[in-house]
């Protein structure tokens, strides 16, 4: 009971800190806008195929998340507050709290990208809403899970900015390939059962990544 309260207190602290400084949020929003604008410039009058749009959707999500999701650990390290956190909270609490915060942030991010896509790309029509919703949820959570443990790792390194996507990309490839496939299904209006294979992969990815991170986090967090 108290563990839940403590973990939640950490989420509240991070959320309040984020609302004050807007550090991750600003980076995310600007990245989404600039990358979508770049795609629009590149395509001009062309109508992109649903396959291409599904791919580009997750390209935007990937690069935007690489701009903001590392803040959660990098800021503690930069401000020298990591020690305070190490002294008052167990690694498990820190990991789960940070993961929850990043999950929330990623869900918001993918939601924002979805809305933007629906507005600016006439070809981006979600024909199977159910497939899209599950893909959105599992994809965002899986992404947040991998991004969180990598963020914890790179927070201790000295070339964080460039290292983050370099380390994250190979780990995220199975997820990205799968969400792209099921997003294509959603745009093509396939029936829900057709995407079960993808959902299984996404779900097991989420479990494996989160479970592994949970067990390994202490080694990252404690010097």
């Amino acid at each position: 009971m108290s563990t839940i309260a403590r973990t939640w207190a950490l989420v509240v602290k991070d959320a309040r800190s984020e609302l004050r400084t807007r550090y991750a949020m600003n980076a995310l929003v600007m990245f989404v806008i600039t990358s979508v604008a770049t795609i629009l410039f590149a395509m001009r009058e062309d109508q992109a195929s649903p396959e291409l749009l599904a791919g580009m959707y997750w390209v935007v999500v990937f690069f935007s998340s690489m701009s903001g999701l590392s803040r959660i650990f990098v800021s503690e390290e930069e401000k020298g507050t990591a020690l305070a956190l190490q002294l008052i909270a167990s690694p498990k609490v820190v990991y789960v709290g940070k993961l929850l915060f990043n999950c929330g942030l990623t869900l918001l991010l993918t939601l924002a990208v979805t809305v933007l896509y629906l507005i600016v790309f006439p070809g981006f029509v979600v024909a199977s809403f159910d497939i899209f919703a599950v893909t959105w949820l599992l994809g965002s959570l899986g992404l947040a899970s991998a991004a969180t443990i990598i963020a914890a790792i790179i927070a201790r390194a000295n070339t964080r900015g460039t290292l983050y996507p370099v380390l994250s990309f190979p780990v995220l490839i199975p997820l990205l390939m799968t969400v792209m496939r099921s997003t294509i299904r959603a745009l093509a209006g396939e029936s829900f059962e057709n995407a079960f294979g993808e959902f299984q992969v996404l779900f097991s990815y989420l479990l494996v990544m989160t479970g592994g991170s949970y067990l390994l986090f202490e080694h990252v967090w404690k010097d």
Partner: protein
């Protein structure tokens, strides 16, 4: 160790000669002729080199992961030396496997790169190795380097089952033996390799594995000496 060294040299020499020199015949007679596999012909010889190298690449990664895990338990820097030595070898082998595979792909499938599931997997392994070394060079103290790169290797290792079991089933592949491999586009190992080809193939598998073990012990010894020298000079 001596036996590993000698055996690996003998086996690889044998594979180099036998794999290249034994002629193909439509109806193979005796030990010294290979069957012609439709669609592969002489290109089938790549199996003797590319597949064992790719196997050793994966082995090297698993060994590196294992010693990384050991390091996290023991916190003995020697385990990190073993882990990074294996990763270094794996990186080189990975490049070799990619090059041999992509040359073969050019002649068999018409282009150097086709995003076949296994090509994707080896590409990802290459990226993982690259990321692993990029991470190591960005960490200041030896302990942090050992600790964090071990964690990264394990996290990256968690994705390996997706590449081995899941991806090839979801995406139709070009690789011999993959889903969608129609007869003639490639041999399924178990079905079409003649007994004498199997001898060469498994000699190569063992030969390259021993070669890897030999090089690994060499590298570990060299790394230990290097650390020792560095300690005495500072």
């Amino acid at each position: 160790m001596r036996i590993v060294k000698v055996l690996s040299i003998i086996l690889i020499t044998f594979v180099l000669i036998a794999g290249i020199a034994i002629p193909l015949a439509p109806a193979p007679q005796g030990l010294f002729e290979f069957p012609i596999i439709p669609g592969l012909e002489d290109k089938a010889r790549n199996i003797f080199y590319h597949v064992p190298i790719a196997w050793t690449t994966v082995l090297a990664f698993l060994v590196s992961m294992w010693y990384g895990y050991r390091y996290l338990r023991t916190r003995s820097i020697d385990d990190d030396l073993k882990s990074v030595s294996s990763a270094g070898l794996g990186f080189m082998l990975c490049i070799l496997a990619t090059v041999t595979g992509s040359l073969w792909a050019k002649f068999n499938w018409g282009s150097f790169w086709n995003w076949d599931p296994r090509e994707t997997s080896i590409f990802v392994l290459l990226l993982i190795y690259g990321a692993y070394f990029a991470l190591r060079s960005a960490l200041a103290s030896d302990e942090a380097r050992a600790r964090l790169s071990a964690v990264y290797a394990i996290i990256a290792g968690l994705t390996v089952p997706f590449f081995i079991f899941v991806l090839p089933r979801m995406v139709a592949g070009l690789h011999p033996g993959a889903k969608g491999d129609v007869d003639g586009s490639g041999p399924v190992l178990e079905f079409k390799m003649a007994p004498n080809m199997r001898v060469v193939f498994f000699s190569s598998l063992i030969g390259f594995t021993l070669f890897y073990i030999w090089l690994l012990t060499l590298r570990i010894r060299a790394a230990r000496l290097e650390h020792h020298v560095a300690d005495q000079h500072s």
